[in-house]
Amino acid sequence: MTCNLINEKLDDYVDAQLDVADMHSLDEHTAQCADCQEILDRERILRASLKEYGDSSMPQPDAAFFDRALAKAAQSGTRRQRNRWVMTGFGGAMAAALVLWIVSGTIFEAPEFSEPSIATIAMVIEEPRTVNLVFSSATPLTDATMTVTLPEGIEVMGFQGQREITWMTSLKEGKNILPLTLIATSPLGGELLATLRHADDDRTFRVQVTVI
């Protein structure tokens, strides 16, 4: 082991990216070589300073900045997309999400896999859970109506106290996802209905909600 090696391998040594043999060799060398030990000490101090700099240099946004930024982004995006239903969802909750499908009729094409006749989800009181309703449409649709009817004690986040929510929407060709984040406020449970209507056709999801 020579002193040149510490310069060649300094980064990997401090990052603990060398193999065991090289790490051991450099450990032994720096323990005996004051010059290399000093180089190593300075590098470790530099790294610690860079780490410290990470926090000390970082400005803090004011308390409401994130709220304002989210609201502004949503308002700006909504203006551009008004009357157009965008695919949306909760990426972080996908593992727990229940994915449902509407099967084909005159306006909807069949999904690739079978549809559960009535889906069931279990919820815990006051613990939000996301249900993704996935609509597959053969053609773009406008002027469709979505109605969500909730059993007593089950609410959609953001719509506290409402048992029925209806809005006009559009579907694009292919897969469209509607995420509903539900909260159980009582142990009653019951059946949730999500009905999509277009012209004289309609399809309904039935979701049995049980509350633990």
Binding site: D11, S56, S57, M58, L70, A73, G77, V86, M146
Partner: protein
């Protein structure tokens, strides 16, 4: 605002909020100044709102968001990074910098540490944009090389080389001005 708008906004909020702190820090590392970082942050959030569908099937939306921000920053680099051309002066440091440093019961030591932090900042500002970004993401923010690769699209070998050169340059600058021995 209609009920569907409210629902979209609630979905957007729930989807993005867990990633906002990291995204804000990333914006600041890219832009280097608070006003430009907040412009970048806002613009990316607005852009992402229209692409919520892309997030649905992602296991790690945080990395995707950083990649979107990085690409957006590269496209508008002149706008978001103009403050980099201005040298840093003491009054530009956040007021709480000194308070956030350990050892605040020792005012003399605090002043020395603040001075060292400013020297480090000047040294960082002298690096190229690519080198500074890599060393800040890796050594200050704790990103792994693979995460930087995922965000920038550059090969790990290239990133590692930039990191090596950036550290070497910092050592050179901070040794020459005597900062590194007193850090």
């Amino acid at each position: 605002m209609t009920s569907v708008d409210q629902h979209q906004q609630a979905s957007f909020d729930a989807l993005l909020r867990p990633h906002l702190d990291r995204l804000y820090r990333f914006a600041f590392r890219l832009a280097g100044a608070k006003p430009e970082a907040e412009d970048l942050f806002q613009d990316v959030l607005t852009k992402v709102f229209a692409r919520m569908g892309d997030l649905v099937e992602l296991k790690e939306p945080g990395a995707w968001l950083c990649r979107v921000m990085y690409n957006h920053f590269i496209d508008g680099r002149r706008r978001y990074a103009r403050q980099r051309l201005v040298s840093v002066s003491e009054d530009q440091l956040p007021e709480k910098s000194l308070e956030s440093l350990p050892g605040k019961l020792d005012p003399v030591r605090d002043v020395e540490r603040l001075d060292n932090i400013m020297q480090l900042q000047r040294a960082l500002d002298s690096l190229s944009d690519d080198h500074r970004l890599v060393v800040l993401l890796h050594d200050s923010e704790g990103y792994k090389l693979s995460e930087i690769q995922e965000i920038t699209g550059d090969p790990v070998g290239t990133i590692k080389s930039r990191l090596h050169r950036a550290r070497a340059r910092l050592r050179e600058i901070l040794s020459a001005d005597g900062t590194i021995s007193s850090l």
